[in-house]
Subunit: 180 residues, 2 copies
């Protein structure tokens, strides 16, 4: 799924500026699986404008740069509809945290605990965010995606808490053994 398709998808939901598309990828119920940078969004919108998949109207703002509000065209909707039918690529989960964890034996136990705590904190924030945005009225698709995010996030938090406790217990046992 390339950035062009991502932009078209957002524009089927409502007109947006490039800036707003980027924000959608960072916050709200969808942030956990969408991603795009300005460096790809703006060129994609410009290119699709030339190709007639989107149009824009400029809105001048006082003391701010002009907004370019993009809308999807009929041609754009056709292209988007077709791209939804392409076989989806495999899901991927990328995690520096898991990579580092693989080498836990090279790290201080306290450092590992701190990493897990950070991770737990981060995922708790995400659950809050998801709950907040799920309470807003959403399409069945968005409900499905948010629900997916919620159950996976909760599972991760449970797993991390449980593993953190195991490390804690192990180090207590170690201390007792050393004391004895």
């Amino acid at each position: 799924m390339d950035i062009r398709t991502l932009c078209l998808g957002v524009l089927t939901l409502h007109d947006s500026t490039g800036y707003e598309i980027k924000k959608m990828c960072q916050e709200g119920a969808l942030c956990h699986f969408l991603e795009a940078s300005f460096g790809s969004i703006y060129p994609a919108l410009n290119k699709m404008c030339e190709e007639g998949l989107v149009t824009f109207r400029s809105e001048s703002q006082e003391k701010r740069p002009d907004k370019k509000i993009y809308s999807i065209t009929d041609k754009g909707r056709d292209v988007f509809q077709k791209s939804l039918l392409i076989d989806p690529l495999e899901d991927k989960y990328r995690s520096d945290f898991l990579f580092i964890s693989l080498f836990a034996h090279l790290l201080d136990k306290e450092h590992m605990k701190r990493l897990i705590d950070q991770q737990i904190e981060y995922y708790r924030q995400r659950v809050k965010e998801l709950k907040r945005s799920m309470s807003e009225t959403q399409s069945p698709g968005a409900q499905f995606v948010s629900g997916f995010g919620e159950v996976t996030t909760k599972t991760i938090i449970d797993y991390l808490e449980q593993q953190r406790d195991l490390i804690e217990q192990a180090s207590c046992l170690n201390n007792e053994t050393e004391d004895a």
Copy 2:
């Protein structure tokens, strides 16, 4: 976490060829969060060789291209150890499937069910793979990472099965209503 660090990490576990590093990213317990292409692995190994972080010995094979078996140097270990201490980037989950699901209202109900079934099948394979590789002796770090993969994958399967049933029921109800 860049590809250089990924390669160094693998090489702290055992000497490898570029081809073997790539395979590690595709199968086994680690495949669910590691990723790298040949186009990044080979240049990274070459560069790090120049910089003295890795060395290699050539092994000529009958009727096959020579193997370049890479080993990490002490300097390489130092660099790797330090890169483990860098603050991990946020985890990201990228999914064409979830993106498409967001636009379920634009798709045929049967198409959606087929997509979910494919997804369930794919994750079932992953659980099998994870179980198989977890039974092999592994470091605590690898156990932790595999466990993470297992609980999240199982949660996803449960969620998808449950949602699939809901769609099924909804369409039954629709049919009855239409019949009435």
